[in-house]
């Protein structure tokens, strides 16, 4: 299983196009933010918002997009291997079939975590140069833990989605759809508060806004304290709700409640994916 996992990781990290396309959704969001989203946000609030606060806000959302798209891209190797007959070849080795499947999941998890950390570092470094922000190194352990939780959730989500995919040619279309949708659901292209009620409701049916809110709570905590101290409690709550920093679901959700919610999504996706895959997976190998 170790050799197989090494192979999966090598295939992902050795391919420049793989690396680029896996974070394309995140890069598009980043560029859009630089080009106009940032200015839109600055002008849309009646009080002054600092660059470092907005930068950390957008980084949070983009990290969620990264978690979604990179785990999808990594897990797609499973479909490619199946369609091109490689999985059949691996199946006739001494490695049991369940270990092969577990390895795809493990690699997707590892790739997603490392790409989140990589993208976080790149974006913080960029803003450190352009906006003179301070990189919050002290948050590293928290970010690592949250990136692990994100990767768990999104890996199982993508496993569920891919259990319905049989052909490699579907993968690129699916990648574009999920990449774009994740940007909206994580509230990167526009804050969740701007969306109509129905859209907000639909968004909250996915793990994306909770995942993004958790990142925002971690990355913006001190910045919010420093910079919004002049606002009233109501004003601050409204701002945090508008920007998707706090989410309400019959009242404001605490960080631990959101972590539990993400855990529930993880379990739900795992169960449904397991049922969806049970009949189709191994049975189709011989037709490759």
């Amino acid at each position: 299983m170790i050799a197989f996992s090494k192979r999966n990781l090598t295939l992902f990290f050795n391919s420049k196009s793989n690396l680029f396309f896996s974070v394309m959704g995140a890069l598009i969001a980043f560029v859009l933010y630089l080009v106009f989203l940032k200015n839109n946000l600055i002008t849309s609030f009646p009080f002054k918002l600092s660059h470092d606060l907005l930068d950390a806000w957008v980084i949070s959302g983009i990290l969620v997009v990264t978690a979604v798209t990179t785990s999808l891209h990594a897990l797609s190797q499973m479909i490619t291997d199946r369609e091109q007959g490689r999985l059949a070849d691996f199946t006739v080795t001494s490695v049991p079939f369940w270990q092969l499947q577990a390895s795809y999941l493990l690699c997707s998890f590892l790739i997603s975590v490392s790409m989140q950390l990589f993208m976080g570092l790149i974006m913080y470094s960029y803003f450190a140069v352009t906006d003179d922000i301070t990189i919050p190194w002290e948050l590293t352990p928290k970010i690592i833990l949250l990136s692990c939780l994100s990767s768990f959730v999104w890996t199982t989500f993508n496993l569920l989605i891919l259990s319905f995919v049989k052909q490699v040619k579907t993968l690129s279309q699916l990648g574009s759809i999920i990449g774009t949708a994740s940007g909206f659901f994580a509230g990167v292209y526009m804050p969740i508060g701007v969306l109509p009620k129905t859209a907000q409701f639909i968004t909250k049916l996915t793990p994306a806004p909770y995942n993004a809110a958790l990142y925002r709570q971690f990355l913006l905590k001190d910045l919010l304290k420093e910079q919004l101290s002049g606002l009233s409690h109501v004003q601050r709550q409204l701002f945090e709700k508008q920007m998707g920093i706090h989410l309400s679901l019959n009242g404001f959700l605490s960080s631990s409640q959101m972590i539990l919610l993400l855990g529930a999504f993880f379990l739900g996706f795992t169960l449904v994916a397991a049922v969806a895959m049970k009949h189709s997976r191994r049975a189709n190998l011989g037709h490759v």
């Binding site: 192979r7 295939l11 091109q84 059949a88 001494s94 190998l285 011989g286």
Partner: protein, 297 residues
């Protein structure tokens, strides 16, 4: 000594009976050819032999082992119809990854296989950049990494030029001897079955012939006699009198006779009407057409 026993093996899909109660006994060290026209059930049988397709009924036994188990996989090497190694990795990386996925393998075996198959010159090259023949050699090396006792090859030389095919077949014959391999192959090229110790012919999911090549030839032996006549009409009338209806092709008469004695009789009787002749015994191609009524290629 029987190595693999296949009994009443059947695979039924929703609307199709792909393999219908086939029986095979494959002896240790034998080179077995498995022939059949497209859609006959060859790939489904190979799928079941490799444990990738679950049979609807029947059994495959290799000693006490059954397909789909790790112990069975350890004794089985498979060369798939398509190249299944990673194009982005080098030959060496590919072989190393696959070798590490087996319980029984070593650096020595890896090196031996690389040398046997002559891969040293392109070990560091990416698999995706190799020629068709080079790829097939790597594929065969990959199938031998764990020193299997049986090697299954699913149409391994399809799409290769004649020189490459010959190299591959020479290598396989050598491996059969040096590694005491049992080889089971499906092929589209009937001349390749000339190397086989035993031949199974499958059509519409059923085994329609199973014998050694020599005995198949004896059973279905016919002679193809081509005569170049001095006077075509006259010779045709004479042959018709014997109850033979020859076909005509480019001024020559072609007839099929049952044995060499009949061949000689015709030649002696009509030697004054013939300027030249050609006589050849049925090959596997003719036997195949005779059995299935279909051309392979």
């Amino acid at each position: 000594m029987v190595e693999i026993t296949i009994e009443a093996l059947t695979k039924e899909y929703t609307n199709k009976l792909a393999v219908d109660h086939i029986d095979m006994r494959i002896k240790k060290g034998d080179f077995v050819a498995f022939l059949g026209p497209n859609g006959a059930g060859k790939s489904t049988t190979v799928g079941m032999l490799t444990g990738l397709i679950t049979p609807s009924s029947g059994s495959i036994r290799f000693g006490k082992l059954k397909p789909g188990t790790v112990a069975y996989h350890n004794k089985l090497g498979v060369v798939f119809q398509n190249s299944v190694l990673d194009n982005q990795l080098t030959v060496q990386q590919n072989l190393k990854v696959r070798a590490q996925m087996y319980e029984r393998t070593s650096q020595d075996v890896l090196q031996q296989v690389i040398t046997e198959l002559g891969l040293n010159n392109f070990l560091k090259q990416k698999y995706g950049t190799l020629s068709g023949g080079q790829r097939r050699r790597v594929d065969i090396a990959r199938a031998l990494l764990h020193q299997p006792e049986i090697l299954i090859l699913d149409e391994p030389s399809t799409g290769l030029d004649i020189q490459t095919r010959n190299v591959i077949w020479d290598t396989l014959k050598k491996l059969q001897k040096t590694m005491q391999l049992t080889i089971f192959l499906t092929t589209h090229y009937l001349e390749e079955t000339e190397n086989a110790d035993y031949v199974y012919v499958i059509d519409k999911g059923r085994i329609i012939a199973a014998d050694s090549l020599d005995r198949l030839k004896q059973t279905y032996a016919q002679y193809h006699l081509t005569l170049t006549p001095k006077d075509l009409q006259k010779l045709r009338v004479q042959l018709n009198k014997l109850g033979i209806a020859p076909s005509e092709n480019k001024g020559k008469l072609q007839l099929i006779v049952s044995d060499s004695a009949q061949c000689l009789t015709i030649l002696q009787r009509y030697r004054n009407l013939i300027t030249d002749f050609e006589c050849r015994q049925s090959d596997m191609n003719d036997i195949f057409v005779h059995l299935t009524g279909k051309e392979m290629r």
